[in-house]
Structure formats: C-alpha cells, structure tokens
Symmetry: C3
Subunit: 148 residues, 3 copies
C-alpha cells in the first residue's frame, strides 16, 4: 500500500499544482471569491460602454471586496484607455473600486508604427506585453473570461 | 505518516471542492455529458440567428439528452427573447428540446429606465439577476462559454 | 481508515480524470505548455486580420514549440480559409509555424444548401464536424478559448 500511497500523493500534488486550480486571490483582492476577466477588442463606443456597465453591475452584485475584475484591452479596444477617451470618468470610477485596466503593448507598438506616435493613456492603465497572453494567464489563475 | 495523510486529505477535499470540478448535470439534464453556455449580447439579427443555429447543431450532434445548453442574453442581445421577436418560433422549438434561455434583469432595468416600460418577453424566458454573473456560475459548474 | 483511504483514492482518481485536467500536449506540439484556441465567426476583414495578428504575436511571445494554437472558424468566419481569401499568405505562414486552422462542416453544408456549391478551401484547412463542438473539446483539453 505504501507505494500506491506515494503514487496517490504524487498524483494529488500534480493535480493540486495544475494551473486551473490556482484561483488564489490576487494581492489587491485578498478576500475575492469571484474572478472575472473582461475582454475588450472593439472600438464601438456602445460595446466599450457595455464592458464598463458589466464591471459596475458585478461590483454591485458581489461587492468590491468579493470580486476581482480585470479589463484586458487589445486591438481597437485600447481606445477605451486613451487619455482623451469620452468614457474616462467611468473608467476612473471603476479603478477607485479596484478594477484593473490593461492595455496590450503589441497593439501600442502597432499604433506607433502606423501613426508615428504613441497614444497618451489614462495614467491608471497597466501595460501588459500581450492582451491575449494576459487572458491566458488569468484563465490559468481561475478567472472566467467574458467578452461582453 | 498520519499527519501527512490528513494534510493530503485536506488538500484533496480542497481540490475536490473547487468549482471547476463541479460539472454535475443539472436536474433537467441528468444524463448530460456536455455543457455549453452560449452568450448573446448583440442585437444584430444574423448574430442572433447564428446562436440559434449553433444550439440546434449541438443538439443534433450530441443528442438532446447528452448536452445541457443555456443561452444567456444581456445588453442588446435580450431582444432575441422579446415576445415579438421574429426568431421566437426557433427559440420555442429549442425550448421544447431542453435549451434554457436567460434574460439579464440588469438590462431589463436599464431598458425600463430609458423607455419607461418593461418589454414583453417570451414566457419561456428565465430571468437572472445579471447575465455575466450567470456565465460565471455556469463556468464554475463546468460549462464551456462560447459567444458565437 | 482503510475505507476512507479507498474513498479518498476513488475521489482522487475522479478528480484526476476530469477533462479540465487533461491539457496533455497534442502530438504535433509535444513540448507545448500553453494552449490557445482562437475563435473566428465573423466576416469582417479587420476582425479576421486581428485573429492572425494575435496568433503571430503569441508565437513570438512563447516560441512556436511552447504554444499550441488552433484557429476554429465557423459561420461567416470560414471565409478566412477560402482558397481566394486575401489573407491566405498570412494563414499559410502561420500553418508553417504549426498553427492549425479548422473549418466547420455544418457551416460548409449550409453554404452548399444556399449557393448550390461548396467553396474551394485552402488545402491546409482541417474540417471539423462542428466548430463549437471543437471549441468544447479543446476547452476540455485545457485550451483557453479566446474570440479576438
């Protein structure tokens, strides 16, 4: 039995180490029980507004301490985080309630190449190397990915 | 060894209790082996029709007993479930085959505020407090989330 | 204790057997540690181009050996894989780097019924019975599903 026990323990540790299991709360949300990654990759203002409404509704439903929300923008979706975005006040209100907003550096590089300048961003924006890579990381950490 | 055994058991129970594990069939689909949540948050009629086609194709491929399908509508997507929707007959045919259709109450409240009236809905519609919260619950229960 | 041990082992094996655990690398990517399924169900050329950019960026970020990428097309998204697609060269460059491209046979049947002919496809395309069923399989195998 000892051998099977060791085998079982090894198996157990493998299972426990699997990324899908992780779902440990991020440092800024130590009491979070719900984990939501919202993808934004469209420039349509109504779609951008919907993403913000969803974040706001989830904060209300679960309470800001119980849910960790990260909005990941890439492609045309990064416009939400431009310094001159018409939605900037709503973004900042959500930042104050603990929502994180990411911008994809691959997209920024591409805009830089096409236009010759880097867009000014809301200073609360977090730069990530690639938006989709960030979504994969968050999924591995137990976040549910939703693209409103 | 006993202490490590207890530790392992605790770990095991933690792992086993993780929501990703759940995937127990819902009461209305006791034999389901496949679990699909279809998100609809657009008003485009072609997109709405595609969601219904996907549900229909999945019922054909797996058989209505083997798959549990829930269509979750929010934002402009709730129009699919208006009583006067041009797609109502297709919705009801899917309801008869066990597909569940949810409407987001946050969206209904928002429509009520803007228009002064609550839209009449297909009577088979299930109201959920928030569409995205429902998607998170379904994901925790082992459903795959797809937004066609 | 023996009975609880057997119970625990049974539980362990159940947990270990759960599809979410699978994530074993596919035969064509034996060293992959990252698994990405990209959904394409729109005909918008900018959206199709974004899917290819995402695949390319992920290959650069992780390296072609470390990531398995599968692009699953259905509905209007299958046009990406038509033989006369303006994006064909970019598709083939990604195929050479190990990206798989699937087309949904349900959609092909539907196009055949409406137009009377089956569209000519890029010869590297892999036919799957249903795009969404393929996404469910990939999710069960540990792939992260993203719809750029």
């Amino acid at each position: 039995m000892f051998r099977s026990w060791r085998f079982a323990l090894a198996l157990l540790l493998t299972v426990a180490a699997h990324p899908v299991m992780a779902a440990s709360p991020p440092a800024d949300h130590p009491f979070a029980k719900h984990f939501l990654a919202l993808q934004l990759s469209e420039k349509d203002p109504a779609r951008q507004s919907l993403v913000l409404s969803v974040a706001n509704n989830m904060l209300k439903q679960y309470g800001p301490d119980s849910i960790a929300i990260e909005v990941v923008t890439f492609g045309p979706g990064i416009r939400l985080l431009y310094a001159d975005s018409p939605l900037r006040k709503r973004v900042e209100s959500l930042v104050e309630q603990g929502v994180r907003f990411d911008v994809c550096e691959n997209t920024l590089d591409s805009v830089q190449r096409k236009t010759g300048k880097t867009p000014a961003l809301d200073p609360h924006t977090i730069k990530v190397p690639a938006g989709v890579a960030r979504l994969m990381e968050l999924s591995d950490q137990g976040y549910t990915l939703v693209r409103p």
